[in-house]
């Protein structure tokens, strides 16, 4: 890890370094070119100033008077004053033959002889001239010459030396090393600017004399060179040579001995030096920061991986079937969210485990019940219970009346296989669809109900049509209404399972399983209500549970439409099971969705508390209890229930429909909320 990070730092530094060197080339060329232009500009400005000084002085009356007198001391004195005033380094006055008349640099020397500078010769020939003045000793001056028409004098020259100080100033302005040269000797013992360079003069002279620089060509008047690469002192440099005072006419005609030039020089290392420093600092910081970053990274990673490790451990234990492994604390970050999600998943799994265990029990019960049913009439307990809880006015002996027994084929297609239930409306058979090779359920209705009542039959058909619209996994599908001639039968989805009343006969359900059943009942009701179908007779025997624990609510709307209830109601009696009947139904009023909510509440109460809220020896007492008595507090029956779940049950069981959940949807949500809070301790 450390090596990787260190390697990355080094690699990126190296890459940037290489890139720097490749970028440095054009920058270097631009730098020396810019330096050349700056030097040219500075030289031109200096020459302008020198030119102006000579013109001023040449036209000055007192000065001209001195010159006219030809008095050297006076002239020199005056020139000395002007040097201070104008900032020139020297003045020279030459006579018409080009001989020295006065030279402020040699005030005591009487007659030094011919001046012999191209600038002076140009001025003698054609008036004002400017350019370079090269001394025999190699000193280089910028010079401007102006004729004086007074006395023996002819030309006044103002001089400014190109010395180390000025070269240094230019170097600072251009950021490039500058060396000025002339042809005096092997580029002369004097190389203005050389003192500013970190090179010995001798080596510098060699460097500047490098043939590739083209100095000779510059001095021969061939102009300057483009930037080149030269090796100097073991280092690579960008360099160019250019003539001094290139913009002025005089140098073009000047003798080679009176030409000068300069070399602009910049080392590649110098160009990238600043960057090397930055990069060095970056490298250092990078190398210092890397261990810290790695350390912090490891710490951070540990903070993430430790809870994940705990999670992994918990998952492995869950795979082994143990859902109680400790989980990491729930923090605000992603790991916390994961932990929280995993915790709720564990709760669900635990519930599922409970449900599975319970389903296993139920399934074995169901199959044993089915076996019993196929061999003989349904299990005594079931039948007895059904009879107990069904309408009181069932005429004895009627339920199994009607067509056939096991083996009978209805409409040449549905072979009755086993009797799986019997109730007030008729008998329920498991049948085989010989055409589709499927199991179906057939409820053969009590023959008397619809016979001779075409209006009721039509309404029954209407109800079936309605309920067929409800398509939901928790609602038993109704397929057909079969006309059996003497009676009618309803063809329904077959559920390989049992009914909730048989399950409840075993006692209270495990909490998780109970909630799962209840929640599916609420879902099924919600789906039916959404289609405008009200059950009106919800009770455990109408709630089927298959081997996977899936709930199917059956007999939607059938109670009233079957006509049986209608007749009974008219007679002032009450149909069906009073144990699950809403107060408004008990009082003979119209039932709506909230009546289903109430009945579901009774069922849930029984699921979670192990017994119904109202139970009595006779139906009338039960009905009165529904109307008048408050349900016993659920927590009295099941102390493990949390108050929120108890409140949920009591709200579903409110006497006044307006105080209940307004819909099955609200009820489902209420159940979810109560269950989410834990439901049971």
């Amino acid at each position: 890890m450390t090596a990787l990070v260190g390697g990355l730092v080094l690699a990126s530094t190296g890459a940037v370094w290489l890139r720097t060197w490749s970028l440095a080339g054009p920058a270097l060329d631009a730098a020396v070119l810019r330096a050349r232009d700056l030097v040219d500009e500075a030289v031109a400005a200096r020459l302008d100033r020198l030119d102006l000084v000579t013109r001023l002085l040449a036209s000055d009356g007192p000065f001209r008077a001195y010159v006219a007198e030809g008095d050297r001391p006076s002239i020199l004195d005056n020139l000395a004053d002007r040097m201070t005033l104008y900032g020139c380094d020297a003045f020279v006055i030459a006579d018409a033959r080009g001989d020295f008349l006065a030279d402020t640099r040699r005030p005591t020397e009487a007659a030094p002889g011919p001046v012999g500078q191209s600038v002076v010769e140009a001025a003698l020939l054609g008036g004002h001239a400017r350019g370079v003045w090269v001394e025999r000793d190699g000193r280089i001056y910028l010079a401007a010459a102006t004729p004086i028409e007074a006395g023996p004098a002819s030309v006044l020259v103002a001089l400014e030396e190109v010395n180390d100080v000025r070269a240094m100033a230019l170097r600072q302005a251009t950021g490039v090393d500058l060396v000025f040269f002339s042809r005096s000797g092997p580029f002369g013992p004097v190389l203005p600017g050389a003192a500013t360079l970190p090179l010995p003069r001798a080596r510098l002279a060699t460097l500047v004399a490098a043939p590739s620089l083209g100095l000779t060509a510059v001095l021969d008047g061939a102009g300057g060179t483009e930037p080149r690469r030269i090796e100097a002192d073991g280092a690579e440099h960008a360099a160019l040579a250019a003539p001094l005072a290139a913009g002025d006419a005089a140098p073009a005609t000047a003798a080679p001995a009176h030409r000068a030039g300069f070399v602009a020089l910049r080392s590649v290392a110098g160009e990238v030096a600043w960057f090397a420093k930055i990069q060095g600092a970056l490298l250092l910081v990078g190398l210092l920061a890397a261990p810290i970053a790695i350390g912090v990274g490891v710490l951070l990673a540990r903070r993430i991986t430790r809870p994940i490790g705990v999670l992994v451990h918990a998952i492995e234990r869950a795979r082994a079937g143990d859902y109680d492994a400790p989980l990491p604390p729930e923090t605000g970050d992603e790991v916390g969210v994961l932990s929280s999600a995993f915790r709720s998943m564990m709760v669900r799994l635990k519930q599922q485990q409970e449900v599975d265990a319970w389903i296993g029990t139920v399934a074995s019960q169901a199959s044993s019940g089915a076996r019993t049913a196929s061999a003989s009439p349904p299990a005594a307990g079931h039948l007895k219970r059904t009879q107990d809880t069904t309408a009181t006015l069932d005429p004895p002996g009627a339920p199994v009346a009607g067509p056939g027994g096991a083996g009978t084929v209805l409409q040449g297609r549905f072979r009755l296989v086993a009797l799986i239930g019997a109730g007030g409306m008729g008998t329920v058979w498991k049948a085989r669809d010989e055409s589709l090779h499927e199991d179906v359920a057939v409820k053969i209705l009590v023959s008397g109900g619809l016979t001779g009542r075409p209006d009721l039959l039509e309404r029954f058909r209407q109800e079936i049509r309605l309920s067929r619209r409800v398509t939901h996994r928790n609602v038993l599908r109704t397929h057909e209404l079969l006309d059996l001639g003497s009676s009618w039968a309803i063809l329904m989805e077959y559920v390989d399972g049992t009914s909730l009343d048989r399950v409840l006969a075993e006692g209270r359900l495990p909490f998780s399983a109970g909630v799962r059943i209840a929640s599916q009942v609420a879902d099924g009701l919600q789906a039916a209500h959404a289609r405008g179908v009200v059950h009106r007779d919800l009770k455990p025997s109408n709630i089927l549970v298959d081997a996977l624990g899936t709930v199917k609510i059956s007999d939607f709307g059938l109670a009233r439409s079957a006509g049986v209830g209608e007749g009974l109601t008219i007679e002032g009696a009450v149909l069906g099971t009073p144990l699950y009947m809403s107060p408004e139904q008990a009082m003979g009023r119209t039932a709506d969705e909230r009546s289903d909510v109430y009945s579901a509440g009774v069922v849930f109460y029984e699921i979670l508390c192990g017994r119904r809220p109202f139970d009595a020896d006779n139906p009338v007492a039960v009905l009165r209890a529904h109307i008048e008595l408050p349900p016993p507090p659920p927590r009295d029956l099941n102390p493990a229930l949390l108050p929120s779940m108890a409140a949920f049950l009591l709200r579903a069981l409110a006497k006044d429909p307006a105080l209940r959940f307004a819909s099955a949807r609200d009820m489902a949500e209420g159940l979810d909320r109560a269950a989410a809070e834990g439901g049971a301790a």
């Binding site: 002085l57 000055d60 009356g61 007192p62 008077a65 001195y66 006076s74 005056n78």
Partner: protein
């Protein structure tokens, strides 16, 4: 103020003594004494020794002309201030190794001695009273002032500003003072027997600014910094 008042009183006391000392043999004549104060910028005391004091209107024979010289040395006039009776002959010897050109454009005493080398130089007769400014046409920094006075009663104050002029006949006169930076000032005196007037003249030099002078052709000097940089 208090101090200068004290100085004035002290001066008066001294003058009385001086007058008392010199009075005995003379009759009908008196000594005028006093003090010249030059007030420079910020109230500093200026040098009064470059001032000239004279008395106007006193009767008596005109002064006899003198011969004097102002030497040019080191591109400067020596002395820079001189007072001479009218009609005096003033020479300008050149002690420098270079040529100088002495001239003046002052009112009735204009002259141009031309360019001349080291040597006794050339001279001029100052025929009119007044202030004569003398320059060199080559070197703008060279300046001399000659006060050409009409009478004989002239004095130059000492460094402390004190001056005295003796043998002045009784009468009412004007005491006049001229100073390069302070300009001119005057004071009335009445000389009678036993009366020794004490004159105090204060010249304000605080507003004075150096203004570059022109050459003999009336043009600015080219080399003069003040002239080339700020002709106004």
């Amino acid at each position: 103020m208090r101090i200068s008042g004290f100085a004035a009183r002290l001066g008066t006391a001294l003058a009385i003594e001086v007058v008392a000392a010199g009075m005995a043999p003379m009759t009908r004549a008196a000594t005028v004494a006093g003090v010249v104060a030059i007030v420079e910028r910020d109230g500093a005391r200026g040098d009064p020794s470059s001032a000239v004091v004279w008395i106007e209107g006193a009767p008596g024979p005109p002064p006899s002309p003198e011969r004097a010289a102002i030497t040019m040395r080191g591109k400067a006039f020596e002395p820079a201030v001189l007072s001479l009776p009218v009609g005096s002959r003033l020479a300008f010897p050149n002690a420098d190794p270079i040529l100088h050109n002495v001239f003046s454009v002052s009112a009735d005493n204009q002259f141009d001695l031309g360019l001349y080398p080291r040597g006794p130089g050339r001279e001029v007769v100052l025929r009119s009273p007044g202030i004569v400014r003398v320059f060199c046409n080559v070197h703008p920094q060279m300046e001399a002032l000659v006060v050409v006075t009409p009478g004989r009663w002239v004095a130059r104050p000492a460094a402390d500003g004190r001056f005295s002029i003796s043998d002045v006949p009784d009468g009412r006169y004007t005491v006049r003072v001229w100073h390069e930076r302070g300009g001119s000032g005057e004071s009335q005196v009445e000389l009678t027997a036993g009366n020794v007037p004490e004159v105090e003249i204060r010249l304000d030099a605080s507003a004075w600014r150096r203004r570059p002078h022109l050459d003999k052709n009336g043009r600015p000097y080219q080399g003069a910094q003040g002239a080339t940089r700020d002709p106004y």
